[in-house]
């Protein structure tokens, strides 16, 4: 290879700069889906433009352009987010500054700074999206900044295939660093409380069930196929028709929207009698940034860090910002609140009289006909069953939404049905309330758990019957029984003509992997850490223990890496072993006073021994002769010969005459 001037202080050449731009683009790419439109695409265009212009001429963009751009960026971020602190504005600012830094980069040193910064931006993307695929992609993308650093080293860019070389070295580094990375990941002490901010929900939209309901409010949820929670039953799962997960009970209706109303007045949980068919199970909830913990039917007690509401729904004290797990116990046969207080009765019967006159008239007609409670319920369900259709794309409704739904459009989904049904009940004088939550799910036989997606969100009704308390009535089941029997995907399926079933199965299998990811990685917290190490007999894990373990692991890895790094520097060739044995012999005799020197050949050495003692024995002469034959003989000595020589040297006794 030819030599040339070092480029440590020099300017990046074309290849180096191209890889630098790629590194920046890779860091920006995962932010695009989240960045506002005025920022994301322009940044990518800026990077591409810079790469393209740089190919024509090496120049740093003037600070007359850069400084105003940076100011504009700061201003726009403040306008968009309100401040510059926190995750989203911080990440937006970092993305912008990274691209701007690229504009002025014209030295190798600056280029290195850009690479470091792009690794930071790459990592910050994971603060917003922790999915398995995202993480794997971003970890793989780490090779790009590493390769950029490699190509910034002198002479690498002049190699015959510099990019291949750089990426190969980058990949090697990531793979070789994997053991150290995993050891650190497992052993780094986790914080029990955040140092700053309220991680997880500061400025992000909340997802999942809303605490109010109006027809159409669930549309987004019902087409959202992401997992909402996974349920592990200690015994078998209940039958699909029993898989009602109650999250929110809605009491108050203002003619358009159902709300929870004032819940503080009813802190005492409604009494449960005759609880049977008890299920013990665990629920792992995906982050919703809300408080609800959907629980199977009627949960009997609240797990830690949660509160059992008066209507037997469970709310977490803190919003669920990370995947969280709750151990729960529920009954699916019970009598809930056989006595109603007058206040509860009033709430459960209230409706605004100014809306939906036709519905109110129908209810009054039923009452006049002298139907009893169960007859009214049956009649209402029969009404739904007769001429209603289940659809996720119902016609829009106007002011008298329930009138229009019941008598005109006659198409809708759970929200419409439950809302209209509860209204009908109340108008007929039967206490009723709307319950939202999830119904059904997909049973994963591999993982033995029930996967509940957001699309499994559901709304149903509970009516209060004398002596039986609150009883669940699902008007949707009257219209679309398969919604309840087979789950949302069955009810929403328009037809299987393009093999969607196959895709769905595939996706369901993939959920096992996602579940593993959630439990093994995303939820790996201080508790899991101590559970895992507890299996190795380490109790009462403290951060000090962890740091000690981490140090130990790093020392072990250092040793392994050192052995690897030293390997091959002094290849243990056979000749060297031969010399080592010979050297042993020389040292032993030297200890007995034989003068040795580095330039002494074997014959000189033998002569020195003989000079010291005229009667050095024949065994010694034989050893010398053997060494000369092996070392200087025409044939390369075999490994066996060398070993035999070593054994002879070991057996050799220094003659007494020499001593």
């Amino acid at each position: 290879m030819s030599a040339a001037t070092p480029s440590a202080q020099g300017r990046p050449d074309r290849r180096q700069f191209d890889l630098l731009c790629l590194s920046v683009a890779v860091a920006l790419a995962p932010h695009l889906e989240r960045l506002p439109l005025w920022l994301g695409p322009p940044l990518l265009v800026l990077v591409a433009l810079r790469a393209w212009l740089r190919r024509r001429a090496a120049f740093a963009v003037s600070s007359w352009l850069r400084v105003p751009l940076a100011g504009l960026l700061l201003l726009l971020v403040i306008v968009e987010y309100g401040n510059v602190f926190g995750r989203a504005p911080g990440a937006a600012l970092a993305c912008g500054l990274l691209a701007l830094k690229l504009l002025e980069t014209e030295s190798i040193r600056d280029a290195r700074v850009v690479v470091g910064f792009s690794a930071f931006v790459l990592m910050s993307a994971l603060l917003f999206n922790q999915a398995l695929t995202t993480t794997l992609l971003l970890c793989a993308a780490l090779i790009v900044p590493l390769a950029a650093l490699v190509v910034l080293q002198p002479t690498v860019a002049r190699q015959p295939r510099p990019l291949t070389t750089a990426f190969r070295v980058g990949g090697t580094l990531v793979l070789a660093g994997l053991p150290a990375a995993l050891a650190a990941f497992v052993l780094i002490p986790r914080l029990s409380a955040p140092l700053w901010g309220s991680p997880g929900w500061d400025e992000q939209a909340r997802i999942g069930l809303n605490d109010s309901m109006q027809p159409g409010s669930m549309t987004d949820l019902l087409v959202d196929d992401t997992p909402a929670m996974r349920v592990y039953f200690d015994g078998g799962p209940p039958a699909p028709a029993q898989q009602y997960f109650r999250a929110i009970v809605l009491w108050d209706f203002d003619g358009a929207t159902w709300t929870r109303g004032d819940t503080r007045a009813y802190l005492r949980p409604e009494p449960v009698e005759d609880a049977r068919l008890i299920h013990d199970y665990r629920v792992v909830i995906e982050p919703t940034r809300r408080h609800w913990v959907p629980a199977l039917d009627v949960p009997l007690e609240a797990p830690e860090q949660t509160r059992l509401g008066s209507d037997h729904t469970i709310a977490s004290f803190a919003p669920i910002a990370q995947p969280r797990e709750f151990a729960l116990r529920s009954a699916t046969r019970y009598r809930l609140a056989t006595e109603l207080t007058s206040a509860e009765r009033t709430r459960a019967l209230g409706y605004p009289a100014a809306f939906n006159p036709r519905t109110i008239a129908l209810a009054e007609q039923w009452r006049r006909e002298g139907l009893d409670e169960s007859a009214i319920v049956r009649t209402a369900l029969a009404l739904f069953n007769a001429g209603f259709t289940y659809t996720l794309t119902p016609p829009l409704l106007g002011r008298h939404s329930i009138d229009e739904f019941l008598f005109e459009t006659r198409a809708g989904y759970c929200e419409h049905f439950s809302s209209a049904f509860v209204f009908l009940m109340r108008a007929s004088g039967i206490p009723a309330r709307v319950v939202t939550g999830y119904q059904g799910g997909w049973w994963n036989p591999i993982g033995d758990y029930l996967l509940v997606r957001h699309s499994d969100a559901h709304a149903w009704a509970e009516v209060w019957q004398t002596g039986r308390g609150w009883v669940r009535v699902d008007p949707t089941a009257a219209v679309s029984p398969q919604r309840v029997e087979q789950g949302a995907s069955a009810a929403n399926r328009g037809g299987d003509w393009f093999g969607a079933g196959f895709l769905r199965d595939l996706r369901n299998q993939f959920d096992s992997v996602n579940r593993l990811w959630t439990t093994a990685v995303i939820q790996f917290n201080a508790l899991r850490q101590s559970q895992m190490l507890g299996r190795f007999g380490i109790r009462d894990l403290t951060p000090e223990h962890l740091l000690a373990l981490l140090t130990g692991a790093i020392v072990v890895l250092l040793l392994v890496a050192t052995v690897w790094a030293l390997r091959g520097t002094r290849g243990p060739r056979r000749g060297d072993r031969l010399d080592a044995a010979w050297e042993r012999l020389r040292r032993r005799l030297a200890r007995h006073g034989v003068p040795v020197s580095p330039q002494q050949g074997p014959l000189d050495f033998a002569a020195a021994v003989h000079r010291r003692s005229a009667q050095a024995d024949a065994a010694f002469d034989a050893l010398v002769a053997r060494y000369i034959a092996l070392r200087y003989g025409a044939a390369e000595p075999t490994a066996e010969q060398v070993r035999a020589f070593g054994r002879e040297v070991r057996k050799f006794r220094v003659p007494s005459a020499v001593q």
């Binding site: 290879m1 030599a3 001037t5 660093g177 990370q322």
Partner: protein
Amino acid sequence: MAGGIARFAPLRARLVALAERKLPALTRLRRAEPLPITLDRRRIYVVPTGYGVVFALLTAVMLTGALNYGNNPALLLTCLLGGACFVSVFIGFRGLSGLRLAQVRAGEAHAGSDVAVELVFAPGRRDRLALRVVAEPAEVAFAAERGREAVAVLALPARERGWFRPGRVRIVTTFPLGMFVIWSWVHPDVSVLIYPRPEPDAPPLPHGGEREGVPRAGEAEDDPAGLRDYRDHDPPRRIAWRASVRHERLLAREHERQAGLALVLDYDALHGLGHEDRISRLTAWVLQASAGREAFVLVLPGQSFGPAIGAAHRADCLRALALLPTA
């Protein structure tokens, strides 16, 4: 950043001096050693670079952020990055370990100019990228492909004529990520001959008066010492026809222009010049005469070269001039 480093340069120099005084392992390598020199773990040093320290801080910030948000995927990514940097030391170390400095050569150089010192490295069974050789103030980057010799050419300033020792040379690499600087000192026991500085505008060659207009061809032909057997590629004008007839075989003249015998470059004839100035002028003349393919005699105090012509003669003369004792 550069300014900051420059500010610490004197401090750094003092620290290095202190380290070399106090640490025998560093000073041991200041002694010259015979070639070949193989770099091994006992003489390879590793220290994080400024960039490495900054990057470590950045990783710490990333780690804190990931821990604060309880975000394990981000933590995993940070750990991967840290792990890659961690192993980069070892990859960098392997780039130096086992590298052999096989040979040191030098081109022709005159005092006052740069001498190109070629360090010939044997990389062994590994590719070694992004190596640098530093001998203040010269620095050069090179790469070695496995099994092939690599040559790094250092342009060192040659100040004085005579034997020049390139001295201690640092072989350094920051491969692969630039986060650790890995280096080794080598002090090969080699000397390079620096020829004297030729006088810039030397007067013309001092051709003796008898040379003017007198053709000298044939004069030396009678000298049997100047003849040898004709070889295939000798030009016909070299054939010594008369002698060939006498010896009944083709003979050629050893030197083409034995006629220039009269050109005598005599140290003692240069009156009115100092010792070094005389050497400078003689050097300039030797170069001129050799370039003009003229035979000449160089007479120095106590020794004389020639009459002869050709590269060997030139080298002998320049060498003698270079090694003249200083006044």
